[in-house]
Each structure stands twice: as C-alpha cells, then as structure tokens.
C-alpha cells in the first residue's frame, strides 16, 4: 500500500512536468498547426539557464527560474519570428524540418557552452518531509504545487483576461480571429512566449530530481507529443489530463512491470492509438 502511494505521488510529480511541457506544445499547435519539434530544445535550455544562473551567477533557485522563463520565452518568440512566421504558407514538411534544424542547433550550442556532461542542479528544497506516512523530498512537493499553481494561473489568464481570450479565439479560428480585428502576429508572439516559459518552468522544476544534459529534452518532448495526441491536438484540458495519465501509468508501470521499459509505455500507447484512429482520438470526424 505504501509503495503504491509512493508511486502514485511519483506519478503526480512526473505528470506535473509532462503537463507543463505538453501545455506549451498544444498551445503552439493550436496556433501553428505544426508540431514544434524544437520545443524539447527549449525545455533543455530552460534547465541549463536555471542551473547556470544558480552555479555561475549565484542566484537563488527561484530567481534563477525567473531568469530562465524570460530567456527561454524570448528564444521561443525569436523562433516564431525568424522561422515559423516566414514559413507559414509553406507545405507542412518544411515547418517540421525547420524545427528540427533549430533543435539540432540548440543542442550543439548547449554542448559547446556547457559541455556534454550530466549535471546535477542544487535545490534549496532538499529537505525530507513526512506526509501521511510517506517520505517525500520537499522538492517533489514543490514541483506538484508549483505546476498546479502555474496551470491555474494559465487557465485564469486564458479564460478571464481579454488578451488571453484572443489566444483561444485564434486557436479556434485563425481567419475568423483576424476578421474580428485580433492582431494575429501579436497573439502568435504571446503564445510562443508562454510555451517557452512553460518549458522553462517544467525543466527547472524537475532538474533537481533528474539531471541536466544536452539531450534531456528528447524523451520529454516525444512524450509531450504523445500526450497531446491522446488529449487532442490543441486541447488545453487534454494536455493537462494526458500529462497526469501518462505520469501515473509510467510510474506504476515502472514498479509493477519493468523499469527498463517504462519509457516504451508512452510510445506503444501512441502507436496503438494512431493505428486504430489515424486522426487522433478527438479528431473532428467527417472528411
């Protein structure tokens, strides 16, 4: 029983991070209609910026995360302006290749600047606490709490503020949004900033319990794709729910099936889903 609870909490931790990354990806998909393969690289840069700000600039963990949010957000916006915007009328294969080009570049850059080693991120929240008979590190509790706080804030921003609602409007109908006077360029920039920020938060939260290295975004981004396909490309609740479902499945699968193959779970899930429903689970039927 205790083991199960422990694993459920682990699932909650992993799921929180997956949800944050998937949220950014799904927002960008809603606007762009292409899968941003470079999103994993933003996640990786987010981890490094926080790490470097702490170790080299001596900033507090939380301050370092703020810097990381801004840097990665701006990087994400630059990507939109310099690459995806010029390609918006091109065949979809070109967006994908361009995104892969950015991904390869950022990874090589990270390796050049910060080396290829696996690095540990220190955290001021390393204490061990006892909650309901479970032994947890404070960092894990912070991951869950912070992720949920960020999601609530994002929900409020998208639903209750005017500028947030323009994002929703544009995701639903790009031409329609332009017709009612929404500045689609501004919305695209804002969306990319949010996506970058979410990736930075996700990476910074999880790095103290995982590791920071140039390839750290690979598995996470691919799983985020699986999540948004399960949850419906462009769907915000789908991304959150999908993130937690995958988090729980993996954590329980790792304990009771095989920890070697736990990473396979997501991919096999996706293969099964897309084989049965080639347009995704929540595709709008018809054509």
């Amino acid at each position: 029983m205790e083991l199960l609870l422990q694993q459920l909490f682990n699932g909650l931790t992993i799921g929180s991070v997956y949800s944050l990354v998937a949220l950014g990806l799904t927002l960008v998909y809603g606007i762009l209609h292409i899968p941003n393969f470079a999103h994993g690289a933003l996640y990786m840069v987010g981890g490094y910026i926080t790490l470097i700000m702490m170790t080299n600039a001596g900033l507090h963990y939380i301050l370092a995360i703020l810097v990381s949010i801004i840097v990665v957000g701006v990087l994400s916006v630059l990507m939109e302006r310099l690459v995806f915007h010029p390609l918006r009328h091109s065949p979809p294969i070109q967006d994908k290749v361009a995104a892969i080009g950015i991904l390869l570049f950022l990874e090589a850059l990270a390796q050049l600047l910060w080396g290829a080693d696996y690095r540990q991120m220190p955290t001021p929240f390393g204490q061990v606490v006892n909650v309901f008979g479970l032994t947890l590190t404070l960092q894990r509790i912070i991951i869950v709490a912070a992720a949920i706080a960020v999601m609530i804030f994002l929900y409020w921003f998208l639903k209750k503020t005017f500028i947030g609602s323009t994002i929703i409007a544009m995701a639903q109908n790009r031409e329609g949004a332009a017709l009612v006077g929404i500045n689609t360029n501004k919305v695209a920039i804002l969306t990319f900033f949010i996506a970058g920020a979410l990736a930075a938060i996700g990476a910074s939260l999880t790095s103290p319990i995982n590791l920071v290295f140039p390839g750290m975004g690979h598995l996470v981004i691919l799983k985020a794709f699986v999540i948004i396909i399960i949850g419906g490309m462009g769907s915000i609740p789908g991304a959150i729910l999908g993130g937690y479902i995958l988090g729980f499945t993996e954590s329980i699968g790792a304990t009771y099936i095989s920890s070697d193959y736990k990473d396979l779970i997501a991919f096999v899930l996706l293969i099964i889903i897309l084989s049965a429903k080639p347009q995704g689970i929540f595709s709008k039927g018809g054509a």
């Binding site: 709008k284 039927g285 018809g286 054509a287």
Partner: protein, 255 residues
C-alpha cells in the same frame, strides 16, 4: 443515362450536406449543377467520384452499382474529375505533369522499373503519346515544355483538364472549372468544354458563372441546402420560381 444517383445523402456529424438527391446524367451532354454557396454541390461531386462514402443512397454508373467503390477504382471505370485547386507540380514541366494521367491504363510495376523492361518502355511511350494528344486537344502544345510555375492560371486549368482527359474518361466532372480566371479566359474555357462534349465525352460541372452555364449546359440541376429544388433545360431553370427564390440574396440567376 450514363450515371444515376438514388436518394443520395451525406451527413457530416449532425449536418446534412446532401439530402435524398435523385439525379441522372445524360450521355454526351453538358450537365451542370448550380446552387448558392454551401448548397452541397462540391459534396455531391465528392460522393459521385468516391472521395467520400455516402451515408445513404446509391450511385449507378452504366447500370453498375459504384456506391462503395474508392475514388481510384471509379477513375478506372472511366470517370475523371478536376478540383477547384489545380494541385500541379510547379517545378516540373507541363508535359511531365500530364504523363502520369494515363498511368491507370498501364500495368508496369517496380520490377519493370528496375529492369527497364520492354513493357515499361512501351507503356511509357503510350503515356507520352497520350500526354501529347491531350495537350494538343486542350491547346497547350506550345507550353508543354514550360515549367508549370511559369504558366498562367488559365493554362493551369487547362493542364488540369488535360490530366483528366489523359485517363481516357467517358465522363468528366469539372469542379468550378473557371474559378479565378477573367471573362475572356472563361469564354475560352467554355469553348474547350464544348469541344470535349463534341468529342463524345459526357461533361458534368459545378459553376457559379450563370451566363456561362446558361449558354453551355444542356441540362441543369439546382441544389439548395443539400436538396434538389429544380432540374431541367436552361430555359426551364431561368423561369423556375423556387430557383429565383433560392438565389435572392445570393445573386440573381442571370448575373
């Protein structure tokens, strides 16, 4: 009757795009389908040519039930079509674009390709001859070795016709064949459509340009909200009360 539909119906989710349409196409004639925007004309075309399966109803081609056949099998039977967008390969020549149009009448496979068999060479020759023939017919012989990127919109429409004709069709479906071209070019294209009918190819088209339809078509069907509201000769259609009503607000019939 070369083609007949019975109670043809298509639903998308809760919306009925085409509702119980009975329609028949006379051989060798120019048949037209008209109707206001969103009347279900394109959906009707897509049902007949096998792009979408119908929800209810049947389609008969020369008495044979083709309701469940996929688009490529329907093309093999001698039904060709064009699309509103031409979808040509811009970086290749007009001639190269049209060659593949006769592919469905050939049999050579990967083995023939790798060993360049006699069958492949003969069939390639036949495809090329066919391409030349249809380019000549559509008046494109002079631009056949130009890149598609460098020809005019009207010429691209002709290339799309040529591709359809290269399949050796008995009936051709044209989806808004003159959309996006100027009045003079529209005139030229309708001459080409007439020429196709004179060659014995049955034509069925969707069009918005009423003047052109009235002078070109032998037989017209009017769709509104997915239902057939009238059918007949151009004169009958022009004087039909229901048709005039349907078009009020959507532009007049004579426009």
């Amino acid at each position: 009757m070369i083609l007949e539909t019975k109670h043809l119906t298509k639903k998308f989710g809760g919306n009925i795009a085409v509702k119980h349409v009975d329609f028949s196409i006379e051989q060798g004639k120019v048949n037209a389908i008209i109707g206001p925007n969103g009347a279900g004309k394109s959906t009707f075309f897509n049902l007949i040519t096998g792009v979408h399966p119908p929800t209810e109803g049947q389609i008969f081609y020369k008495g044979e039930d083709i309701t469940k056949l996929p688009a490529n099998k329907i093309a093999l039977l001698g039904m060709a079509r064009t699309f509103q967008t031409t979808n040509l390969f811009e970086m290749s020549t007009v001639f190269d674009n049209v060659i593949v149009g006769h592919r469905l009448r050939t049999k050579s496979n990967l083995f023939d390709a790798i060993f360049r068999t006699k069958r492949l060479k003969e069939e390639e020759e036949r495809c090329k001859e066919k391409a030349l023939e249809v380019l000549e017919f559509t008046g494109l012989a002079n631009v056949s070795d130009q890149l598609v990127a460098n020809i005019s919109q009207e010429e691209k429409k002709r290339v799309a016709f040529a591709l359809a004709l290269a399949t050796d069709p008995e009936i051709v479906f044209l989806d808004e064949p003159t959309a996006g071209v100027n009045p003079d070019e529209t005139e030229e294209l309708s001459l080409l459509i007439k020429k196709m009918a004179e060659q014995g190819i049955t034509v069925c088209l969707i069009e918005h340009k009423m003047q052109m339809i009235m002078s070109l078509a032998d037989h017209i069907m009017v769709l509104n909200y997915g239902e057939k509201i009238a059918e007949g000769t151009p004169d009958e259609i022009k004087n039909n009360e229901e048709v005039i009503k349907a078009y009020l607000g959507g532009g007049s019939v004579s426009a």
